[in-house]
């Protein structure tokens, strides 16, 4: 079965620090992977995706993510972090690379000014 795991429910950092939000997945084939962000009271915004090829993918708002097949991870990164990055972040995997998204539990990121 497919699954996505975000082991850190909360991450708190100071502004200017580097952030890395962890995501691991379970899927027997080559995955498609996405990151979304949800600001308080808002819907989901697409940040970036991995399909194939380069293991580091860049997205919007200065974010990038690194795909590592060796440990089935797709971690989100940004440096430096800004207070406006405070939000909940979701990693997702499309069901057998098509169709419904399987979401991780989400990581709530808090950036202290």
């Amino acid at each position: 079965a497919q699954s996505v795991d975000q082991p850190d429910a909360h991450v708190t950092l100071s502004e200017g620090a580097s952030l890395e939000l962890r995501c691991s997945y379970s899927y027997s084939a080559a995955p498609y992977l996405f990151w979304y962000v949800q600001y308080p009271g808002q819907s989901l915004q697409f940040l970036l995706k991995y399909i194939t090829g380069d293991t580091v993918v860049k997205g919007t708002k200065g974010f990038e993510a690194e795909f590592r097949k060796s440990n089935s991870s797709f971690n989100l990164k940004k440096s430096p972090a800004h207070w406006s990055d405070s939000a909940k972040y979701f990693c997702a995997l499309p069901y057998y690379n098509q169709g419904k998204l399987i979401f991780g539990q989400g990581t709530k990121l808090s950036i202290k000014p």
Binding site: Q42, F46, P94, N97, Q98, K100, L101, F103, Q105
Partner: protein, 113 residues
């Protein structure tokens, strides 16, 4: 920025009442998804369409949920007899293909009293 339109933004119903929400996908996106996000930020896939046809759906054994995406009209999700447990944020998303990133609307927040 997503151009998925959802109406209404807020919906308040009494138990047993019908609740209907609508979604206009991004132009050129034939694939439409409905998700339910509960207060614990957990996502539940409900149904998806390609053009007017259902691709996947949850087990509708309760038969309280129905959805359609008619040609040249907004897609809709209807709960026939609302229950307190249906209180959630209902998200509509669209994509060009099932495996592509999905773009989400602002959601309809349903409160069942």
């Amino acid at each position: 920025n997503s151009k998925v339109i959802q109406t209404p933004r807020y919906l308040v119903k009494g138990q047993g009442q019908k609740a209907k929400m609508r979604c206009i996908p991004e132009k050129g996106h034939p694939v439409v998804f409905w998700y339910q996000q509960n207060k614990n930020n957990e996502f539940k896939f409900l149904i998806n369409f390609q053009n007017q046809e259902v691709l996947q759906q949850i087990d509708m054994t309760e038969k309280r949920f129905s959805a359609e995406c008619p040609s040249n009209s907004p897609c809709s999700l209807e709960i026939q007899s609302s229950e307190a447990g249906d209180s959630a944020l209902y998200l509509c998303a669209s994509s060009y293909r099932g495996k592509d990133e999905q773009y989400f609307g602002p959601g309809t927040r349903l409160t069942v009293l």
